[in-house]
């Protein structure tokens, strides 16, 4: 089974590549446009996918992927199941700061709390950050794009301060309080 590995290709100069994985393909395009428009100093390539594993045909021409972002729509259970399956196709090197989860519709009243909790548990077990995004307004999309760009620059090694992806992910990883009755 071909796993996606982060270090098997040579990085390009002043370039960062982002992979957005979403089952519904609703939020991907708007987010990709917002990301590309915000960043002027660095070349940002955004690639879109519905699930992993990625098609083998493009394997040669695909650049090195610096950050894999999984977008989970809390209104559908299928979204979460696809993400869970996709995690098996990533090499374990990715989980040292090169994976991020974005959750949409977290504030929707019709969503059951268990779904958000299970996404957070999944992210916590893989030591990855979770970002809640508002996909319906332009401001929300811009905010999500800004946050992802910050993480992308660190994981691509382009941040001016010497920060590594592993250090960043240790700071921002999702924690799930296991027992909340201690107070």
């Amino acid at each position: 089974m071909a796993l996606l590995t982060p270090y098997s290709k040579i990085p390009e100069l002043n370039t960062a590549t982002l992979l957005l994985v979403e089952n519904e393909e609703q939020f991907q395009c708007r987010l990709a446009d917002a990301i590309v428009q915000r960043e002027k100093d660095v070349n940002v390539n955004v690639r879109l996918a519905r699930k992993l594993p990625l098609p083998v045909e493009n394997g040669e021409t695909r650049p090195r992927i610096d950050l894999v972002v999984f977008i989970v729509n809390l209104l559908s259970e299928q979204s979460f199941l696809v993400v869970e399956n996709s995690l098996n196709h990533l090499s374990s090197d990715y989980f040292l700061g090169k994976v991020c989860f974005v959750v949409t519709s977290a504030r929707c009243g019709a969503v059951s709390q268990e779904r958000l909790l299970s996404v957070r548990k999944l992210a916590a077990s893989h030591r990855c950050p979770v970002i809640c995004a508002e996909h319906q307004t332009d401001d929300g999309v811009t905010m999500a794009a800004t946050r992802l760009l910050t993480i992308l620059k660190v994981s691509a090694g382009l941040s001016p301060m010497p920060t590594t992806a592993l250090y960043m992910s240790t700071l921002t990883r999702c924690t799930v309080p296991s027992d909340l009755d201690e107070d």
Partner: protein, 364 residues
């Protein structure tokens, strides 16, 4: 010298006062709340402002529940009143605890609510135009619905319209009830003494009357109402609980309704033969013996079984849509917060589940 001493005393008095003012402000105060961007590292808390029990309610989602037992509720509750509850479809809301609600003053409340409704209807009308219909309200307590000592007794409200021409006004135009069945005992015990918690509000009738009743309650008892939608996990539980009752009381059918997010939206109704549903449920649920508890994994496997069967035939992933409706002969529930109970034997189980949903949804 005396002047000097007086100054000295005054100085220490002032110092004492200022230190008493300063100390409370210094303590760092963090309030824990289920806020939007809570994805980063939790800061350590030093001091909680609100009592801890009220805030932990929202995080404790139960993973196992008691199986539905058939209770002959007519032993405890007047059968006529039970018949009123089973009559049709109710719209659900959650209610925050009521302040100074007394079960002994129900007659007074009925008079006040009737006067309020009449006044609101007449608002803005200077001259009486047309027929003036009066309203009669009756508050009654349905005794026997409460399961534990901490539950407050159910209150049933009916509004009858009193037409001018002396015709029979005994058909209610609006009905509603407030109830608490098997509420979380720790939460109920932690409420301050003057508060009564009746978290589930069911109503049926004209929407304008519902709004008037809710605003009267809000003004009189300082509570607030909110719409209670039934999430897909609640509907899964109801489907599993009702299927589990099949040998005792035949459910006759299990119908599940889904809405797919396609353009235009596709509605799917999936009917399952009760015997097949029961066999699937039996293969998933392990009989524990004495203590019949159903765990959330069993419910999830049951629903997964139904969904994969559907996928095998129609190649549609049901999990990408939303479950909107579950219905059996014992009752039906809709995603927008509508419930119908058709059998008196399982009322307390369904109400326990709904009370729990209402308590989880209440903003604390």
């Amino acid at each position: 010298m005396m002047g000097g001493r007086a100054v000295g005393m005054r100085g220490s008095e002032m110092e004492g006062r200022s230190s008493a003012v300063n100390t409370p402000v210094r303590r760092p105060v963090t309030r824990r709340s289920k806020s939007y961007g809570r994805s980063c590292v939790e800061p350590p808390s030093l001091f909680w402002q609100t009592p801890g029990h009220l805030t932990t309610l929202g995080h404790r989602i139960p993973t196992s529940r008691r199986a539905a037992k058939s209770h002959n509720i007519t032993e405890k509750v007047d059968p006529e009143q039970v018949a009123l509850l089973l009559d049709g479809e109710w719209k659900l809301s959650y209610v925050t605890p009521l302040f100074l609600f007394r079960h002994t003053q129900l007659k007074l409340y009925s008079k006040r609510l009737a006067a309020f409704i009449i006044a609101e209807k007449q608002q803005g009308v200077a001259v009486e135009v047309g027929l003036e219909a009066g309203f009669r309200v009756s508050f009654s307590a349905v005794l026997g619905m409460a399961e534990t000592e901490e539950d407050a007794e159910t209150v049933f409200i009916q509004i009858f319209s009193r037409p001018v021409f002396g015709a029979d006004g005994s058909k209610p135009v609006w009905q509603g009830w407030l109830t608490c069945v098997n509420g979380d005992p720790e939460y109920l015990r932690s409420l301050p003494p003057d508060f009564t918690s009746l978290p589930l509000f069911c109503s049926r009738g004209a929407e304008s009357l519902s709004a008037l009743v809710k605003s009267w309650f809000q003004r009189t008892f300082d509570c607030s109402f909110g719409a209670l939608g039934l999430s897909s996990s609640t509907l899964h539980w109801l489907a599993a609980l009702w299927t589990g009752c099949h040998p005792a009381a035949g459910i006759r059918y299990l119908k599940l309704g889904w809405t797919m997010p396609t353009q235009p939206p596709l509605d799917i109704e999936y009917s399952v033969d009760p015997q097949d549903a029961w066999e699937l449920w039996n293969s998933v649920h392990k009989e524990d013996g004495a203590d019949e508890r159903i765990s959330v994994d069993e419910v999830q496997s049951f629903i997964n079984g139904l969904e994969t069967h559907f996928f095998r035939h129609f190649k549609i992933y049901l999990s990408s849509g939303t479950l909107t409706k579950v219905s059996t002969a014992l009752g039906s529930a809709h995603h927008h917060g509508k419930i119908k109970m058709s059998s008196s034997d399982y009322i307390s189980t369904v109400l326990t589940l709904l009370t729990e949903c209402a308590l989880l949804k209440t903003p604390v």
